[in-house]
Symmetry: C2
Subunit: 519 residues, 2 copies
């Protein structure tokens, strides 16, 4: 592709509201542009990256036998109402209605609808297990879109759904998706770790997130420095030191604390650490007001609250129930091995949920089991955000001059620079090399612009294509072209006649390339 | 892919509301399923067809230098308001709002937004011409979704946009897209003709539709039997026979017509044909009430009305203006050559609009011209409906037993049938042949189900994959497999050892195949 007519111009400076390094580079390199807060357009360079990320996801889904399909963006309200999510998702979704007043949700995920399809398409246990997936636009009414493509109001997600006959089948499917995710992120250059996570709006008990550790992440992850325990703080627990026997503690005595209304004030007044006190918080939940008693130095973790207290019944449990609702901190003891926990920031690029029969029972989605009875499907869902993956790649693959794309997802393999492009010989030799490379299926962005060497090299560093090839009057004098990998400082000169073959061999040697067809 | 776990089951009978042959076959063959009126899910078989149709469109767009990108589904209200389309599109679009009350439209098309991008990305005439396109979901609040995928409420459209410096450039770009469309439809097996059309909601003067003639179409097309004049009836005109000189006609005389309130009644009362009368219709338009005088045998064509009468001003024009607002009928004279016009039904699978500066002036989208002035972009837009194309292919490629896919868009190349699949030898030989074919990049749907020959052959005819290959105890006795093209009645026996190579050679010989990569 000729850079002179490329739709998307590089920017010398990032807009002032671009808060992360990746957002700045994403905008400067013309990967995507906002149309409104949280609504982005992929420009051609970014679209090529997104398509490669998508193709890697597709190949790894197909490898485990998943079948691609496509469900619509607009989804009718009724099935959402049957599962109770029409109401619970209201704060973060977009709704619309037709001119007859029939309501629709801009798709949030598709659990409800894929179950309705499964009910119709899968009649017998003989058709199980089944895995289906699609890439589809999702809407999220984020109050505060931020950090470019990391938190947006519309994004393409790959969501996969597994259907099994029983729990053992689900566990096998879940494991297959877990493995596919590990390969998927590794192939796109992301060092994603799998962490235990809260099931949130999805229902069910078991869930994992794939997190890429980076300072720009919004999530906080507890990681054991000794064993392989890793959990989102929304889910993490700690080992609590054994308490002294009540017999060893004197009977309670009132202590005068006039005017001390905070734990901080108590610490000062009595000369004891915050952890020596108990504090009581009143939290409003959807089942009423709940009183939570915590060590003085801990905060309540609201996702845990939602998850673990929903069955608290005044009268039955009001005397108090020991539940895990407090936060976990750097230095706490690992709940598994007692080792030291570290807290790191991460970006969630994927998540997987084993919800079992949570949806199938609500939607009466059953199949004919081997024993002749009708049973509900046992299922899971599995998401990957495409745009978020692309920006996370940028956040973790750049230097001060620009992006350094992993070859598997780079918009092009080679950035070929003609210097100067006004010179007829340089131009002719450049175009011959572009043609020779393209014959070898090497993807080339050809900088044919009438710009200085400084501008062209700066753009090449910013855009970050793996191989920069320069054809200049100077190199042609020696019958050579210059090859410089973006990730390295040193360049080498290749004989002109050999260049296309040598470069094509390098590209063919790259691991993890997706097979894109004719793009 | 194994048919035993294919997500999507064939139906013996179509639902009673499936009104066209293509809708019936689309549903019976598990191509797509409705989630609600006018909202469809592509099942895996149909998804593969849609992807091939999309890839053919992509390859032909790329061939003329178009660059792929992707704009969002949710589009902010403000730019729509600047062009006046927020209001004019209200009856047929879906709207939503965020929790702060900010309004969005579920994308109808993207002229407004691609102009805003062009304004930012294209600074100088040196970057022109530019063609960009995307595939994106569109919403249409159709009051009466009908005929399966032909008239729906959500569909993926390829929309392309050209930007040029002047009218001559636009004409060149328009011609390039016109050519790409002709190749695109031919490659997917559609005999689409280009017809003059009304510009409707798009603005501008010149527009063409690509119409596939079939009785299930909603559009009516006037086609000259003598020259190449072809126009949608919304746009078509006719040659009107020269009138007799007024001098040859006596002065008007009143004729008593008590109680005759219709043209039909007048015909009877006076014994003259409807065409001998003039009738006056009062039509409510957005600029007020307009009186239209027509020959008694013609109807007013409302799209023409909207288009040609918008500048009628009472007082200035009230005395009467000769405009072309009446309909055209079978047997009328061609406006170009005077030949006989035929009227045929058609499905519009694509449309192209040369709107010039209609959007760029409203949105102040300008570039720096060669003479140093700022000028508005001169543009056009170009749409193809993917789902409608798929169903139109079915409507025009089937027999009484099922679909007959053109090889370029078939979900698989080969339908391999094991008979019976319970026989270990049949099964082993079938699976070896599937593997050998897949190594040659032949796409195989493998019917490994425990079903009768009758059921399997009926499904093969219904699904319509180009080559049916049967591996049975009978054929294996002769060390052969049976090959039968879906489009032909006769089968042939191939030596088993040769079969993969022979079949792969047939597939490689098919023209027009899209290059799909690893799907």
């Amino acid at each position: 592709m000729k850079q002179s007519t490329l739709f998307g111009r590089t920017l010398r400076d990032a807009p002032s509201d671009a808060t992360t390094p990746g957002t700045q580079l994403m905008l400067r390199a013309a990967i995507a542009r906002p149309l409104a807060a949280g609504l982005y357009t992929w420009l051609p360079l970014g679209f090529r990256v997104a398509e490669k990320v998508e193709q890697i996801v597709r190949e790894e889904q197909n490898r485990i036998g998943a079948q691609e399909m496509e469900m619509p963006v607009l989804t009718p309200a009724e099935p959402w109402k049957e599962t109770g999510r029409w109401e619970s998702l209201e704060p973060i979704t977009f709704r619309t209605a037709d001119h007859n007043g029939r309501e629709f949700m801009v798709s949030y995920t598709h659990e409800e609808f894929v179950h309705l399809h499964a009910k119709q398409e899968i009649q017998s246990y003989r058709q199980l297990p089944a895995i289906v997936y699609h890439f589809q636009s999702k809407g999220r009414d984020e109050a505060r879109p931020r950090a470019g493509l990391l938190r947006v109001r519309e994004f393409v997600m790959k969501d996969a759904y597994t259907f099994d006959a029983d729990q053992a089948g689900l566990e096998k499917s879940y494991e297959a998706e877990h493995g596919a995710y590990a390969r998927t992120f590794a192939r796109m250059g992301l060092d994603a770790i799998s962490v235990e996570s809260d099931t949130g709006a999805m229902g069910g008990d078991v869930a994992h997130e794939f997190q890429v550790l980076t300072e720009v992440g919004e999530d906080r992850i507890a990681i054991c420095t000794n064993c392989d325990y890793r959990a989102n703080l929304e889910k993490a627990t700690r080992k609590i030191a054994p308490q002294r026997s009540p017999d060893a503690i004197p009977a309670p005595t009132p202590v005068a604390t006039p005017g001390t209304t905070s734990i901080e004030a108590l610490e000062k007044a009595l000369g004891l650490p915050a952890s020596a006190f108990l504090k009581t918080l009143l939290l409003r939940t959807k089942d009423g007001v709940v009183a939570v008693v915590l060590p003085g130095d801990r905060e309540a973790n609201e996702p845990k609250q939602d998850t673990h207290l929903r069955d608290v019944v005044p009268g039955r449990d009001f005397g108090g129930e020991r539940v895990d609702v407090h936060d976990v901190r750097e230095g706490d003891a690992c709940p598994r091995c007692g080792g030291r926990l570290e807290i790191k920031r991460g970006v969630e690029v994927g998540n997987i949920f084993a919800y079992g029969t949570y949806y199938s029972t609500k939607l009466d989605a059953t199949f004919l089991a081997e024993d002749g009875t009708r049973r509900p499907f046992v299922g899971g869902s599995y998401g990957i955000g495409i745009g978020r993956s692309v920006q996370t790649i940028i956040e973790t693959h750049h230097d001060e001059r620009g992006i350094i794309w992993p070859p598997s997802v780079a918009p092009f393999h080679v950035h070929l620079i003609a210097l100067p492009s006004s010179d007829p010989d340089v131009r002719a030799k450049s175009e011959a090399l572009v043609a020779a490379l393209e014959r070898e299926h090497v993807e080339v962005l050809y900088d044919d612009r009438d710009e200085s060497a400084g501008v062209k090299f700066a753009d090449a560093d910013l855009i970050g294509i793996p191989l920069r090839v320069t054809v200049s009057k100077r190199t042609l004098k020696e019958d050579k072209v210059e090859l410089k990998p973006r990730a390295r400082a040193d360049a080498e000169l290749l004989p002109q006649g050999d260049a296309a073959g040598r470069i094509a061999a390098i590209v063919r040697g790259w691991p993890d390339l997706p097979e894109m067809g004719n793009r």
